[in-house]
Amino acid sequence: MSGTRIDDVRLPGTLRVGLSRGWLEIRSFVREWESVVFTFALPALILVMFASIFDGMFDMGMPAVDHYLPGLFAMGLMSVSFQTLGAGIATERDQGGLRRLRGTPMPPTAYFLGKTLLVFFLAVGQAVLLLGVAALAFGGQMPRTGADWLTLVWVLVLGTTACSLLGIAVSSLARTAQAASTIVVVPFLALQFTSGVFVPVTVLPDGVLAVASLFPLLWMAQGMRAAFYPDGMAALEASGSWDLHLVALALGAWCVVGLVLVLLTFRWKTRKDG
């Protein structure tokens, strides 16, 4: 170039670069049909199957679609945040995508802003898809009052944030992209069976419930039941109440812990890159 450049050139702003990254992430995600099917559409597919097959098979005190919707919604939110970021960032790191970005003047914050936009785009999409399928195909019950809708929104935001941070932290544990999908999928699957998504929490052994209570998915599912179920159903919770203050506390704590873990562990390079 001309060789007349000076050091105080105006670098593009973090917000602008971050928005551009978010748009790129979203367009790139929707082109990966595998991830669209497995991390985005899977909860809706399960809902369709459960609502069709299990309806009237057990005494749930409500139609099967209403019974399973809150738990599958919580699972879907964890899927688009924890699973998308955990496996996705590990792959980017393993294949040098992160290092390449670090070699440009991109502000590091812009990268995370882009991921945030991707995850919230997917979380809102998850809400539209699951609630849409439940309401339009099965006449499912939506939250009854404004307060219930508000519960849905704050549980979505807090839960998705906590799971995103956990996903970013977990991505650093994996040495390779292949290892990452195992490290991410196995604990996520275990949590789905112990956090009230498929099996009611009241039938779980105390020890299992205690371990699952340490992770966000159980609290997200409980918060979503509070938003969708009639108030009388609270009697069937482990403590006999929705305990929304505990939901907020547990998810808030995970946001803080997740952020600390991310700040301590995030790397732009793999170990072999030095």
């Binding site: 170039m1 001309s2 060789g3 007349t4 450049r5 050091d7 105080d8 050139v9 105006r10 670098l11 593009p12 602008r16 670069v17 551009s20 990254r21 790129l24 992430e25 367009r27 790139s28 082109r31 990966e32 792959t91 980017e92 294949q95 040098g96 995508g97 290092r99 390449r100 670090r102 070699g103 440009t104 003047p105 991109m106 502000p107 390079k269 890159d273 030095g274």
Partner: protein, 294 residues
């Protein structure tokens, strides 16, 4: 604006007890194509990564574009470009969109279409990166390395896996960039690539500089003895001489017509290079020559 783009002196890097870079001094003036050669494990990659600000050094001083790479910020990053050795993951959007996105990271980028034209990807602007051939992928890597209009471009083994035709095309691209005044640090395993492109070549082995100079004078190449060889009654004969012209004239006088199978040979860059590496093996820290040339 300093005329020297890269200045390193006494550069040291240790991995455990192993001294990977053992006191390297480099000075690369603005506008030069400077090539680093050496076997695997010679310290090339480590040296380049220190210059790029991707690795911390254990000793010595480094100035790249007037700043210390390990503490330089975004404004400094905007003035360098890196073409990585490994193929890297790219977003699943069309080529033109990837290049446009990367352009958005820089304060005064090149034009997107102009850059695609320069690397010969105009016809692939709408294709996804996954659908490109190996050579096209590499051209996209170069496009992303130069989109910010860098003053200094790091090229790490840019043509590995290219067919000969693609390599020639790629060399022309590098010459064009150099012609526009970009300083280029080229790391390569291909000696003919260094010879074709570099103003100066630096041979690293065992973490030290073994030779430094223009490709045609490296290691005393220009003044080395020539070998004149021919065939006499079915037997191959050769002499080593400082005066090959005189030797050929004498031979011509001694034969009735053509001198059978006459050849005059001066050491190639490869021979000089292998000689330098062999010396290093004698010093006990080489041993990867075959790998380097594989």
């Amino acid at each position: 604006m300093s005329a020297t783009v890269i200045e390193a002196s006494g550069l040291l890097k240790k991995y455990g007890d192993h001294l990977a870079v053992a006191g390297v001094d480099l000075a690369v003036p603005r506008g030069e194509v400077f090539s680093l050669l050496g076997p695997n494990g010679a310290g090339k990659s480590t040296t380049v990564e220190i210059l790029e600000g991707f690795r911390r050094r254990d000793g010595g001083t480094v100035r790249v574009l007037g700043a210390d790479p390990q503490s330089a910020g975004r404004a400094w990053r905007a003035r360098i470009g890196i073409v990585w050795q490994r193929e890297t993951l790219l977003p699943k959007v069309p080529v033109r969109e990837i290049v446009r996105h990367f352009a958005g990271n820089y304060p005064s980028p090149r034009g997107v279409d102009e850059t695609l034209e320069l690397v010969g990807l105009t016809g692939k602007a709408r294709a996804l990166a996954d659908s490109l051939s190996g050579g096209q992928r590499r051209r996209l890597d170069v496009a992303l390395g130069i989109i910010g209009g860098p003053e200094l471009l790091f090229l790490d083994e840019p043509t590995t896996g290219f067919d000969p035709r693609a390599r020639r095309d790629f060399w022309q691209l590098i010459r064009d960039l150099a012609g526009q005044g970009t300083t280029i640090l080229l790391t390569t395993h291909y000696l003919e690539e260094a010879e074709a492109l570099a103003d100066r070549v630096c041979v690293l082995a065992g973490g030290r500089v073994r030779a430094l100079g223009a490709p045609d004078t490296l290691g005393g190449r220009a003044t080395a003895q020539a070998t004149v060889s021919w065939s006499e009654r079915g037997v191959r004969r050769e002499i080593r001489t400082d005066e090959p012209t005189r030797a050929v004239a004498e031979l011509a006088a001694g034969f009735p017509g053509e001198v059978p199978e006459l050849r005059v040979h001066r050491p190639t860059l490869e021979e000089v290079y292998l000689g330098l590496i062999d010396e290093d093996e004698g010093a006990g820290s080489g041993g990867e020559r075959a790998e380097a040339l594989a």
